[in-house]
């Protein structure tokens, strides 16, 4: 195996977006017939690298060479990479729920009769054959919406096999699967390897990576950190974690010594939330946590761990169905059936997706700033536009939003400035508890530092802050106390000053208690 030739070499790949270098001289070598895992924190550049490989970012938009089966490949779009045998299966499946399994497998690639119509008997026959290869015994006429996520994943692979796949790229294939389905899927990937299909797997579940991979490439901040041979280098989870998080911490976080922290004023007990679509999936399981006045509480967890879902379900049940749980504020139980009740009770939620959930991009800055508590400047339901303007202008100065006037559209601002507008919008509601969901995602380092400063200032003014972040250095640098969340369960609670990236990552990737029990 070690001597197998490289089927794929990505050499010196650099991918720039305006103002940001997403990938910087990344190298990836994959041997024929191996399972190669790519590890890295959220935002490290894994998905971007796979988009370059599969032609989503076509030839000419990146620097460096992709050498595919010994020749330099120039994929301009995803069709060309698929024709060459590279198939990517995204985390969010690309199946059409209303169509049958067979129809999905052959979508865009339908067998034809001599008259040009679809040859349905051939579709079914070949679908049955492909399904048996992935170990799926369902009728090919079953609609996709009637089979579970695990089986849908298998249909995706069957679809890839139909395209004569040589290199299968799986992006977080088991993120949405339960234990059984995950095991079955991993077994299938192994089977395919034995039949000569090379796989690249992106996963946050390090135990799976350790169990299945032949080699691992670790990416951090757009750079290749190292490539490991699992057997030869004796790789285990700790080794991978060290590679993923082992960067030096710059001094870009505001000083804080925990002196201003007061009493517990906000408490959530036994909070359990059901996924809005899949009733059997619980996105939060009997979660308990507390927030003190003046405290920044960090929520650490990997993508899909349920941090956002937990936060949004508390913020006026804006996500899923709450099955159990109570919220206490200042010792009193409060009911938060909708968002306006949550705002009235002093909660604020800054969404991780500011463009889709945080802002109306058609609005101008001043309108956005006052939008979450218009009643404050609208006596009798009529908006006082001059107060609106002056309030927005005050926030512009305080948060240093870079814009000539607050009459500009928020759509025209850069990401960092948009985020400041969202922060201003929620600061305007005078929150007691401010929930920040990935507040620095996709914004540059300078603006990040400013936002950290704003967060600390809010805490010092006596508010409680929940900081949800995928960036461990950020959590360690800004938060006072950190909860780790894994698959909907709060797995540990630790003071930031006692925590380090390795211990956090461990609790973020496994449930210690569950393991002990099992």
């Amino acid at each position: 195996m070690v001597d197998a030739p490289y089927i794929l070499e990505m050499r010196g790949i650099t991918k720039r977006f305006p103002g940001v270098i997403a990938l910087d001289d990344v190298t990836l070598r994959v041997r024929e017939g191996e399972i190669h895992s790519i590890c890295g924190e959220n935002g490290a550049g894994k998905s971007t690298l796979m988009k370059v490989l599969s032609g989503v970012y076509g030839f000419g938009t990146y620097e460096g060479d992709i050498v595919w089966q010994g020749e330099v490949a120039r994929f301009r779009d995803i069709r060309q990479s698929e024709a060459a045998g590279i198939v990517i299966i995204h985390q969010e499946l690309a199946l059409i729920p209303e169509l049958s399994i067979a129809e999905n497998i052959f979508l865009g690639n339908e067998p034809r009769t001599p008259f040009g119509s679809i040859d349905w008997s051939a579709v079914r026959l070949r679908a049955r054959d492909l399904l048996s290869r992935v170990g799926l015994r369902d009728d090919p006429d079953t609609q996709i919406k009637n089979i579970g996520v695990g089986k849908q994943q298998l249909v995706e692979i069957a679809k890839a096999l139909n395209k004569n796949v040589k290199l299968l790229i799986l992006d977080e294939p088991t993120a949405a699967l339960n234990e059984n389905d995950s095991q079955h899927l991993l077994g299938l990937i192994r089977d395919l390897r034995d039949k000569g299909v090379t796989s690249i797997m992106i996963s946050h579940k390090l135990n799976e990576i350790e169990a299945i991979s032949n080699s691992i490439t670790i990416i951090r901040d757009g750079h290749t950190v190292e490539s490991l041979d699992v057997k030869a280098d004796g790789v285990d989870e700790d080794r991978i974690i060290r590679g993923m998080v082992g960067r030096t911490l710059e001094n870009r976080f505001p000083e804080h010594d925990g002196s201003g922290i007061g009493e517990v004023f906000f408490e959530v007990r036994d909070w359990t939330v059901q996924h809005p679509l899949t009733a059997e999936r619980l996105v939060a399981k009997h979660s308990n946590f507390t927030v003190r006045r003046g405290e920044v509480v960090g929520f650490a967890g990997l993508m899909g761990a349920g941090r956002t879902e937990l936060a949004m379900s508390i913020f006026g049940q804006s996500y899923g169905t709450v099955l159990s749980g109570q919220v206490f504020k200042d010792g009193q139980e409060i009911k938060l059936p909708n968002v306006s009740a949550a705002i009235k009770n002093g909660l604020a939620y800054v969404s991780e997706d500011r463009k889709a959930l945080g802002l109306n991009l058609l609005d101008d800055i001043k309108t956005s700033v006052v939008s979450a508590k218009l009643s404050k400047i609208a006596p009798g339901g009529v908006v006082d536009e001059l107060r609106e303007h002056s309030i927005a202008d005050d926030y512009r100065k305080e948060l240093r939003i870079k814009t000539p006037t607050v009459d500009e559209g928020v759509g025209k601002l850069s990401g960092g400035n948009q985020q400041k507008v969202v922060l201003a919008k929620w600061m305007f509601t005078d929150p007691d508890l401010l929930i920040l969901d990935e507040p620095t995602r996709g914004i540059d380092v300078g603006a990040k530092t400013e936002i950290y400063g704003i967060i600390r200032k809010l805490a010092e003014s006596g508010a409680g802050v929940i900081l949800i972040s995928s960036e461990l250095p950020e959590l360690l640098g800004v938060a006072d106390r950190i909860y780790t969340i894994f698959e909907g369960t709060i797995t540990s609670e630790i003071l930031a000053k006692d925590a380090n990236p390795e211990t956090l990552m461990k609790s973020m990737t496994s449930d210690k208690n569950k393991k002990d029990a099992a």
Binding site: I78, V87, L361, A378, G446
Partner: protein, 455 residues
Amino acid sequence: MTDTAAAPKKSGGIRDLGKMFGGGQSSLRQFGILGALIVIIVFFQIATGGQTLQPGNVINIVNQNAYVLILAIGMVMVIIAGHIDLSVGSVAAFTGIVVAIAMNRGGVPWWAGVLIGLGIGALVGAWQGLWVAYVGVPAFIVTLAGMLVFRGLNQFIGNATTEPVKDETFLEIGGGYLPDPNLGIDYNVPTLVLGFIAAILVVVLEFRTRARQRKVGAESAPLWVSLVKVVLLAAVLIVAAFLFAGGRVGTSFPIPGIILVVLVIIYAFVTNNTVTGRHIYSVGGNWHAAELSGVKIKRINFFVMMNMSVLAAVAGMVFISRSVSSGPGDGTGWELDAIAAVFIGGAAVSGGIGTVIGSIVGGLVIAVLNNGLQLLGVSSDRVQIIKGLVLLLAVGIDVLSKRSGGRSIMSRFSRPKKVSAADENMTYPLNRPLVEPDGTSAEQSSRPSSTTPNA
């Protein structure tokens, strides 16, 4: 990047002109459509040899189009919120027949007839709003059903025949004019007085706003813009007043026009200055964000649908009053005229953008076009073709102008509820994006893009 500071200045003049319509991102578009209206008026004025701006013709245009313009007011709010209402013509007809029968056979006085009409509008609106807002059936379907149901109800109740309207006072609603005190002048004095009061109000309001803006240090348009604006507006108002006052004896500014102007003022205020208005825009612009900002989306959707039907009832009553009867075919095709007016007036198909004033201007474009072509003796088949092409052209220009460096309406329409990747580098033709000094305005996300082509 050295020219970023200079760029906004260069476009300042045009942008300031845009502020005449209250600023905002759709104001330039409205400015364009107002320009188009003026061009069309001038064209027909010349082509018809001066007939277009004859007092009698101007009064006629108002009388013939007031009900569609009233519908456009409600329709723009529905469209801003991201819905559509196809039932307005049928609702107007249904209201009309009930009111006509109530007065004619039931013997109810005119004011009770009006109240019954408004009540029917409210009930119908509540019915449709319930389905749209609380059950979640798309407004297109609900109001398509309503279009059939209320048309059918009109013909069921009225036995598919015409019911006359006889109450003298009620007939004033659609056919009346401002009173003529007969002071021996050739002009109708109340109309002139109203015109001058309006002109003075425009001036006073503009300078009061400027004073208040100065007080709080808010940005206001340059003085010359304000001056040009008030002088133009006041001049138009006074000229219009003389036009309406100078018609044949017994005519002056029509009552339907008064109703329309009052409604425009009320609804322009509601949409621009009230919490409810803000919420309508936010629901249409990004309902996810609105919901997470505490906006009660269902309530807003219910309100816009209900409000639309009430205005449809008003339009229906104005119409039966003007035509002195209510018939089975009343209101046919009105929904399309109202929708066309709203889109010509700059509203976005995907919601979130549009103004009451813009829609009125859009409606006037259609009205003047209709009228002018009729004066020129163009047959109705060709009038329809021309109207259709004008609608397509107006929105087409909008889409094309946004494609060159901006966000197109259609791209948003084809991917509703999700911000497309194209928006990442969103720019506007006249205003350059703000770039941070270090040049990092763009961003990347670790999530798979929603626009990733899938196999």
